[in-house]
């Protein structure tokens, strides 16, 4: 019985450069290398990173919104690998009619305060800005549709110096934390994480 695909494979294996890999070990090595490359590529996909100039954007995420909700928040860690400070000056999200950058805090009396950052948010040179629950966030207003757990939605971040970059927000559960959608970063709060390690999710 002749199977054309196997025939083709046999011919391919007997052609340069594969005919040079005679031993089982050599062929195993090539397969291992191919798998390693695939793994490395999938890592960067799972890490959910975006780059523009010296700015690295690590795992933008949001939370599922209640029915009829008109607002949502976006979170992300932004790293500046450059030697000059930059500013996140604006953001967009396809689910929102309008987007602002906000600072939020809960004071000692238990009062939640929220303020739009008119001049945007500084990303210090060689440092980072962490947009996370209870702190800075991207505020999506006039929601055109709800955000559903497990989906992603598109958006853009614009920096004063580095310019604009398209990103995707991963939508977590309503009270959820980043990284529960198979995008790595189990808890997402590890400041030492350079964005390329620990993606075991």
């Amino acid at each position: 019985m002749r199977i054309p695909v196997l025939d083709a494979a046999r011919v391919a294996l007997n052609t340069y450069p594969f005919n040079r890999l005679r031993s089982f070990e050599e062929r195993l090595g090539v397969i291992a290398l191919a798998l390693a490359l695939l793994f490395a590529m999938s890592q960067s996909l799972l890490a959910h990173d975006f780059k523009v100039g010296d700015i690295e954007i690590d795992h933008p995420w949001s939370r599922a919104t209640p029915a009829g909700a008109k607002v949502a928040a976006g979170y992300v860690v932004i790293r500046n690998h450059g030697s000059v400070a930059d500013r996140l000056v604006s953001a967009t999200g396809e689910i929102a009619g309008r987007t602002e950058i906000h600072e939020m805090a809960v004071d000692a009396k238990g009062v939640m305060t929220m303020r739009p950052l008119a001049d945007g948010l500084e990303i210090p040179a060689g440092g980072q800005a962490e947009l996370k629950p209870g702190s800075f966030h991207i505020m999506f207003l006039d929601l055109q549709r709800s955000a559903k757990e497990g989906e992603t939605f598109r958006g853009a971040l614009t920096f004063e110096k580095a310019g604009s970059v398209e990103v995707e927000y991963a939508v977590e559960a309503m009270g959820g934390e980043p990284g529960h959608n198979g995008h790595g970063h189990q808890n997402g709060h590890d400041d030492e994480d350079d964005g390329h390690n620990g993606h075991d999710g």
Binding site: A67, V71, M114, H137
Partner: protein, 220 residues
């Protein structure tokens, strides 16, 4: 207690000044008295003598009549005999409100049948936008036992004052606005008396323990 200590310090202080000009041993005694009074004042400040005031003396809570998300009237008298948890918020709230409602929903699920022994109220501080209909839609995403409440601006302002809840409208671009507000959950016993609060960001364990205590306070 505090006032009495302060007065004592003042009197001994004056005596000290007179003493310094006269007899030495008396000066020593007075110095010791002044130091003792100062230590007493520090003690009062640090350990809060007189701070064990029963919670009921701090008047948080009171009568109200508001409209539920189902369009029905609900007043404090309807809640007599049932402990309840109150949260002030609004639906145009990006984080604290949905998170708190979600955490309360999770807590009610964990409490199981015990959850039926208490009521959870979500009072809108944004009655202009939060109608019973919009609250009903919003609360579809949470435990059906959570009651949304809204009312006239006067009624909402009145219950806010009774609960010592704070809120403040903050204008945004394009005539839009957001609201700074107290993010704590108020826990009230079956007689409508204030028992304590759950702060934003407390762990699920702490929250569950407080809710369980609230339910068992009803049985006591």
């Amino acid at each position: 207690m505090v006032i009495r200590t302060v007065m004592m310090t003042r009197t001994t202080g004056t005596t000290a000044m007179t003493a310094r000009t006269t007899v030495r041993p008396l000066q020593l005694v007075v110095s010791v008295a002044v130091i003792a009074a100062a230590l007493l004042a520090v003690g009062v400040f640090l350990f809060g003598w007189g701070r064990n005031v029963p919670a009921s003396l701090v008047t948080i809570g009171g009568p109200f009549t508001l409209t539920t998300h189902a369009g029905e009237k609900l007043s404090d008298t309807d809640l007599k005999g049932t402990p309840f948890a109150v949260f002030f918020g609004f639906t145009h709230c990006p984080e604290v409100c949905p998170t708190t409602l979600w955490e309360m929903s999770e807590s009610l699920t964990t409490l199981g049948d015990d959850a039926d022994k208490l009521k959870v109220l979500f009072i809108s501080v944004d009655p202009k936008r939060d109608t019973p209909e919009s609250l009903a839609l919003y609360l579809q995403s949470f435990d059906p036992r959570i009651l949304g409440l809204t009312g006239s601006e006067e009624a909402i302002r009145a219950i806010g004052q009774q609960y010592r809840a704070y809120w403040q409208t903050v204008p945004l671009e394009g005539g839009d606005y957001t609201i700074d507000h107290t993010a704590s959950v108020f826990l009230m016993d079956d007689a409508g008396e204030f028992i304590g609060t759950i702060s934003y960001g407390e762990t699920m364990e702490a929250r569950l323990e407080k809710l369980r205590r609230l339910i068992s306070a009803e049985a006591a």
